[in-house]
């Protein structure tokens, strides 16, 4: 049976792993290559590697770091942050990334999703969507959640799937950094609307939150950063607990 995936996210700024609370007040959580290897050994199913400085500072993703991570680990990983063209993606894939995640650039130029799917295949195109609720509506936000758009989360999700995204990484800005659990209601609705895998992100605080997002949120994968970086949750323990809750995982 296809298993649910546990995905540590390595947020990178200036070559170091960081994780903010509500995307500000960054703390340093270590060397990304070292962390990548530890997570791979501990049973992480995938890694996501996000250059969070990229969009704001117009920085290209850290190609050298991608190479180092790719040569060290033997599980798939996704690279995101500042990716805005077919050429950007080509460089990252050529350096060992398995998938790329695009966010703001997809909103600004939705055709990019089609172009990437056409050239590299849907399997390597992850569209990341950051959204928060405004007057009861889930609104897509850009630049790390700072800039609201006109887009409704669910409409946008359907569109990106139609354009050829292979996967959606949905981060609830309302939940991110709170450690109060994932946005399971919105996740379940997304999962019913589109027929591609959904990665839940934002809000992981304890093991039960992961159980809930797979059961209630119908997520295909769950992503978290600080609970793993600061060793509040061990991936092995998490996966054992999921298994005890009859959730299929790779142990």
């Amino acid at each position: 049976m296809l298993t649910k995936r546990i995905i540590p996210c390595l947020d990178i700024k200036n070559g170091r792993t960081v994780k903010g609370v509500n995307f500000v007040a960054l703390r340093d959580a270590g060397d990304p290559v070292e962390l990548a290897k530890i997570y791979s050994d501990e049973g992480a199913d995938e890694l996501v590697f996000l250059d969070i400085s990229a969009t704001e500072e117009r920085r290209k993703t850290l190609v050298d770091l991608v190479r180092k991570v790719a040569s060290t680990i033997n599980i798939p990983f996704t690279v995101g942050g500042g990716i805005s063209s077919v050429e950007d993606v080509e460089i990252l894939l050529n350096n060992g990334a398995d998938k790329v995640s695009i966010n703001s650039s997809a909103v600004k130029n939705p055709q990019l999703i089609n172009d990437l799917a056409q050239k590299f295949g849907s399997q390597c195109v992850v569209v990341a969507i950051d959204a928060k609720q405004i007057n009861g509506q889930w609104i897509v936000h850009l630049v790390g959640g700072k800039v609201p758009t006109e887009l409704n989360l669910f409409d946008w999700a359907v569109e990106v799937a139609q354009r050829g995204a292979g996967e959606i990484l949905f981060t609830s800005m309302d939940n991110d950094g709170t450690k109060n659990g994932f946005a399971n209601e919105a996740l379940a609705k997304l999962s019913g609307l589109v027929n591609i895998p959904i990665i839940a992100s934002g809000g992981a605080g304890n093991i039960q939150h992961f159980v809930d997002t797979f059961k209630e949120g119908k997520a295909d994968a769950a992503l978290a950063a600080s609970v793993f970086h600061f060793k509040e949750i061990k991936i092995k323990n998490l996966k054992q607990a999921l298994k005890n809750n009859s959730i299929e995982v790779r142990l």
Binding site: M1, L2, T3, K4, R5, S40, D45, E46, R67, A70, S71, N74, I75, P76, L93, N94, N95, G96, A97, D98, Q118, K119, F120, G121, S122, Q123, C124, G166, E167, N195, I196, P197, D220, A221, R250
Partner: protein, 219 residues
């Protein structure tokens, strides 16, 4: 263009002589890194002579079937690959292109495996993305590998069960997650991305004994 003479004389047979077919449709760097971690060396090539002379050939591929097949045809590799005598491992789309046809882009494949690749229905999420188990393992490729180990898969199309199936996986239906016919092997999963077990499968392939070389056999 790089000339190939030095490449063939320098690596000792069995420890080198591995060629990864580079036809512009694959995440080749991941496979290169995995092979390096296993202590082997590989040459990237789309040169028919170089591929023909290799001890072992890996045929990767991700992306869309018909455009990948077009690239093979452009470089003449569509005629070369089915006639190779050395062990050949197709991975993911590489495996699918070794089949008779693919429903993706109504593509005529290399016809090595006698099976037609078809698409998962919307009754499941497509693509299948993630780790799924492999069982009914029946090939030296899986020497020392336990039944039901998890492999990493990303695909929307699949090869149904057939006489050449050497591994089975269940997603919507039971299907062939690996195929073998004589010296040709194919895995739908990515051994280079499937943790230590995946690397062991890759290593098994790299250690498959070589058939006598030099045109003395066959014919």
């Amino acid at each position: 263009m790089k000339k190939n003479e030095t490449k063939f004389t320098s690596p000792p047979s069995g420890a080198g002589g591995l060629v990864i077919i580079n036809y512009g449709a694959g995440n080749i760097q991941s496979i290169m890194f995995a092979i390096e971690r296993l202590g082997f060396k590989a040459t990237l090539s789309n040169n028919p002579d170089e591929i023909q002379a290799a001890d072992k050939v890996i045929f990767p591929g991700v992306g869309e079937a018909s455009s990948a097949m077009e690239k093979l045809i452009e470089s003449g590799l569509d005629r070369l690959i089915p006639n190779l005598q050395q062990p050949v491992l197709g991975i993911c789309l590489g495996m699918q292109l070794m089949c008779k046809t693919s429903e993706e882009g109504n593509t005529k494949g290399l016809g090595i495996f006698d099976v037609d690749v078809i698409k998962f229905t919307p009754s499941v999420k497509v693509p299948q993305m993630g780790w799924n188990n492999i069982y009914n393992l029946q090939s030296p490729l899986f020497a020392g590998i336990n039944e039901n180990e998890y492999m990493y898969l990303v695909h929307s199309f699949y090869a149904p069960l057939c006489k050449e199936a050497i591994a089975t996986t269940n997603y919507e239906v039971e299907y062939a997650s690996a195929l073998q016919k004589n010296n040709f092997y194919g895995t739908q999963f990515h051994p280079e991305k499937s943790g230590d077990i995946g690397e062991q499968i890759l290593e098994n392939f790299l250690k498959i004994p070589l058939a006598p070389k030099g045109g003395t056999s066959k014919r």
